[in-house]
Symmetry: C2
Subunit: 397 residues, 2 copies
């Protein structure tokens, strides 16, 4: 039988990142490709005790709950956000989701008609682009430098395209590993208010901050609770397998998203939500995050050292101040898409930069390197292979 799919299926495609991961995970390749935290650092005992605590309370935690998610965990999250300065949302304005990916999807589902415009950084988070495109939204890139979106181009494009939303990953972005300056954060909020545009702040990495003496105020903390939706997740700070993220925002939008979620999956895994509540109560999550920061920062520094040692021709980068990714740009004549096969054959994988770009201005010479999932030894070995492959290829192009 020939199956007739919906038109929106045209816009669905398997993520390049995940397809590479599938191949790489089967072989003996050192992978800087995925966005995985390190298994060895997972707080197994903390998670195990949190589930045990939940089971000790009896059978009630195994029943259906309301679509919005387990209320005591939403209360804890509101408190944790307040510590970051985000204090305009109530637990009723917070929806627990299956990872922050579902938050992006539900927001898009209730917001975007085909043709609606979303402004994004360029490059930006690949899986968000895929969601926006699956709703046939029109994604327009805004020019950025290392401090965030550039004022002139941002205001110009807001006036020209009348976007419904500006999607940003302002703190340790995926893929570029950048941090927006305070000035650009304030500017974004003031333009959003001036032109009545929503801001969607995607903040999965904000807790993984390498320099404790610096302050990167979330954009949601600069707003009065009317123009910003803020999403984050436990996937990078606790573990991915619980698939627990959240989104906070204006109550009217969260309420409609919650109706969309009811149709989508009724509610997310509620046993995990209850275990995460107990984990936040009984486990020192902040100490654990500090440990992650120490380890991840030292791995980033090893990667940086290897990069500097190799003296790659035409190399540029911004040293990551947190998060999980190192974004590097090679000499202009290099093509990291072409290079990938050679690299994988030699035993190392990364993600080419091209899929993260929107529109026509695609840089073929960039790549995203993950530094959280490999041990120091593997980072050294993998970077040795990668920089050799790059140098060898450079002589040929």
């Amino acid at each position: 039988m020939r199956y007739a799919f919906a038109k929106r299926v045209r816009h669905l495609q398997s993520s390049a990142v995940r397809d590479i991961l599938k191949v790489v995970s089967k072989g003996n390749v050192i992978s800087f490709a995925g966005g995985l935290p390190d298994d060895d650092l997972f707080p197994l005992d903390g998670v195990r005790e949190a589930f045990e605590k939940t089971f000790e309370t009896g059978k009630k935690p195994l029943q259906y709950i309301e679509t919005e998610g387990y209320m005591p965990l939403r209360e804890i999250l509101v408190d944790r956000m307040a510590i970051k300065g985000i204090d305009t949302y109530t637990p009723e304005s917070l929806l627990l989701t299956t990872g922050s990916q579902q938050a992006i999807d539900l927001f898009s589902r209730v917001m975007f008609n085909p043709g609606d415009v979303i402004l994004t950084e360029n490059p930006t988070y690949l899986a968000a682009l895929q969601v926006f495109e699956s709703y046939e939204a029109n994604v327009i890139p805004v020019e950025s430098d290392e401090f965030g979106m550039i004022e002139e181009d941002l205001e110009h494009k807001i006036r020209k395209y009348k976007p419904k939303c500006i999607y940003v990953v302002p703190t340790f972005s995926n893929p570029a590993g950048k941090v927006w300056s305070m000035e650009r954060r304030n500017l974004l909020v003031s333009l959003a208010h001036k032109y009545h545009v929503m801001i969607f702040e995607d903040d999965p990495y904000g807790d993984l901050q390498f320099h404790s003496n610096e302050t990167y105020t979330p954009i949601a903390a600069l707003d009065d609770g009317t123009h910003v939706l803020y999403t984050s997740t436990f996937s990078k700070t606790v573990v991915p397998a619980l698939r627990t993220g959240w989104i906070a925002g204006p109550h009217q939008i969260i309420r409609i998203m919650s109706q969309a979620k009811q149709a989508n999956d009724l509610h997310s895994n509620s046993l995990s939500q209850q275990a995460l509540f107990h984990l936040c109560q009984n486990f020192d999550l902040d100490a654990h995050i500090n440990n992650l920061i120490t380890v991840y920062r030292s791995r980033m520094e090893i990667m940086l050292e290897e990069l500097e040692k190799a003296k790659l021709p035409g190399l540029t980068y911004v040293v990551p101040k947190g998060g999980m990714f190192f974004w590097i740009e090679l000499d202009e004549k290099m093509n990291t898409g072409d290079l990938l096969n050679v690299a994988v054959k030699n035993g190392v994988a990364y993600v080419p930069g091209a899929p993260f770009y929107v529109g026509k201005k695609v840089q073929q010479n960039a790549m995203r390197l993950n530094f959280t999932h490999s041990t120091p030894d593997k980072i050294k070995k993998g970077m040795g292979i990668l920089t050799s492959v790059i140098k060898e290829q450079y002589t040929k192009v």
Copy 2:
């Protein structure tokens, strides 16, 4: 700020069932309204041990996995389906979802353009209707009797509307508690092949079969693997909080649904999937299901007895052969929507039949009664109140 939502939001509405549940759950009302299994019967020890087994295997189960879900659980599900005669699907043609609700949603997302036609029973599962409508599909009801869809009307509507899909809950349906006859099941498959229409078989309750000597072959078992998608869930047989369901079907459709799932939520809670694998290996799930059947059947019989004792004027019903619901129709002049407030004030809740109907032919005199979530004492007391309220109202209309 005034928020401009997507047009599809018009079709979203909070489920009447869940709204009633919210009110009822706060008071001291005996509720026959929800679709909840009984907390007291949850296999807490089995679930707890399954999680403990998972934690014993180390930190790997806490990492991200592939979108399709944990392969060893998919293999077990293929084996369990084969016991029911469904033997055309492979683990690669099976997708683990966040409850079977997400299976309905993902299927709709990849299949339906606005205006595409779906044929359904009437009444049918409310939350499926809400999904179909959120994708602006055109739901057309087919006339049914107690044996399933009626041949003439089914073929007439297939020819007239050229539907993309026929959605059915053939075994202990929600809300009507009916079982399709073998003849009607075979007929549906042959018409699907004749006219190239997909069948979506929603089977959350099939395991809760009260009469072990009878055979209700799943519709998927009558197909060659090309025309039927089959979805079910662990929510009714193990516990709802793990939110683990699955869908099996033609590989080409499952593959596209898996891409849609990647955009939707990357993957479902994988720790629960691994725990369910250990549960299926180490816990006697079939003995547990047999125990559920014994308890639920006896509760249904108590409800039946109370109904018969009350001698309600004009009452009609089909005695459920399994599942969780008793569907009754009162005298034609009764309106169960109007009656609900009176019933709740007197301490008992149910779901009025009207929201389960599609199209113009809505019966106002029906109601759905859940018999799984209340103890025998509460069923007796609740049915006493309910039948008194009905009788009193009958004298007034």
